[in-house]
Symmetry: C2
Subunit: 227 residues, 2 copies
DNA sequence: CATCTGTTGATTGGATCCAATGTTAAGTCT
DNA sequence: AGACTTAACATTGGATCCAATCAACAGATG
């Protein structure tokens, strides 16, 4: 059954968390996390019929889910050809870092004055979790949650949603990156330094570290796409 | 016929530009521009049946269009209640400016070295067009195109898409803003200064003007939401 | 032999029908 | 009279069916 059509969609059906109220949302979430975690490789064509069968729904909720994911740039739609999981490209990856570098320091700077001791503790916990975690998919999520925890009090929901989105897209590349680099201790030093600077309410130091953190990650990752 | 259900959807049917290949896309574009240009007020409930009748299609392409617009944050979906045009809020507006201020200078700086004489001429043409234009809806589009024309050569498609999105969302507020302020000569001075700086390849000067331009617009607009 | 064309199969787009849910309003009971 | 229950309606969510489009392949023609 795993040689269906290049990918075993049935494996996606075990949706975690709270069961969504609508089938459309159910499909949307399952596909979304599957794509983000790299479980459906870029370029995979998404046949509506196959997905409908895998999720045991009709084609309609599948179509709605695909439309939503298209608007999130996770897949590409061609009028009468269907949907394909969006490709990863060096250009796209570079752009993601460019955007993160512009947005995240702003979020961090605005958030630092309002961070509580609890927030900082949780951030440190996440760093510890990352040290323990070995699965690449979950590591990306922990990294995302760590960054977001420091930006949480920026008081700009729209900015945060945007940053979150960039971080999730970054996940797709990070996963790819880690898979080739083996386990990395990454920039945990940077992470710790950021928390320390935040605790000291030193906005300047924290943003400098963050920018360098992103720049280094950008350079590292760029190498994997030089081909 | 204009007292249908609070809004005359039939007036949207005259879609400009190239006719889309699919009904879904047709509906999506029409609704999108209508919302952006403020022709459908925030908070308006979008009944699928009414839209389908107005566009002379079935409810299905309408549903797909609504899903896409939801993912673009132009309307809000509630499971069994339906879609409502997204509200404008002071917070959201402030966030939009925050994001623009972070992203646009980056795009401009990267684009300036590659701008051609033609690009600059077109930018100046757009400024002239804005002087002549009186309709608020179109003015917003011209303003958007002006900004984008200066960023066009940034070489970062993803960044540009994001900036374009912020500018279109900004349009909704700009329209609201202009409607109360009467005709304004706005920041055409800033626009001219930006083109001049770009022509001189003076990245520093251009980005400074742009940042101030955005800051001033942010402060101006914020007043209208103090209530 | 290459190219063009017509035909068949696969897949998506759209329409209609039915089920599920939410809302409203009437009616009943305290 | 006020609050709760329940029944009708309106609206959305989902399934199935049909039409339109695209891709692949076979055959004809230069």
């Amino acid at each position: 059954m795993s040689t269906e059509d290049g990918f075993d969609f049935a494996a996606l059906v075990a949706g975690g968390g709270d069961r969504p109220r609508t089938a459309s949302e159910f499909v949307q979430r399952a596909l979304r996390t599957a794509i983000l975690e790299g479980r459906i490789p870029p370029g995979t064509p998404l046949r509506q019929e196959a997905l409908a069968a895998a999720f045991d729904v009709s084609r309609m909720p599948v179509r709605e889910a695909l439309r939503q994911l298209e608007a999130q740039a996770l897949l590409e739609f061609t009028p009468h050809k269907g949907a394909v999981v969006a490709e990863l490209s060096a250009q796209d990856q570079a752009d993601t870092y460019l955007i993160r570098r512009a947005l995240e320091p702003v979020a961090l700077a605005r958030s630092i004055p309002h961070l509580t001791r609890d927030d900082l503790d949780r951030a440190e916990d996440l760093i510890a979790d990352m040290d323990r975690e070995s699965d690449h998919g979950r590591l990306g999520e922990l990294n995302r949650r760590f960054h977001l925890s420091l930006y949480a009090h920026a008081g700009s929901p729209k900015l945060l949603r945007l940053v979150e989105r960039q971080l999730t897209e970054h996940d797709r590349y990070l996963r790819f990156h880690l898979a080739m680099m083996g386990r990395d201790r990454m920039s945990q030093d940077d992470h710790l330094a950021m928390v320390a600077a935040a605790a000291a309410r030193d906005i300047e130091a924290a943003t400098v570290v963050l920018q360098r953190h992103i720049d280094v990650a950008a350079e590292d990752s760029a190498r994997f796409f030089d081909r």
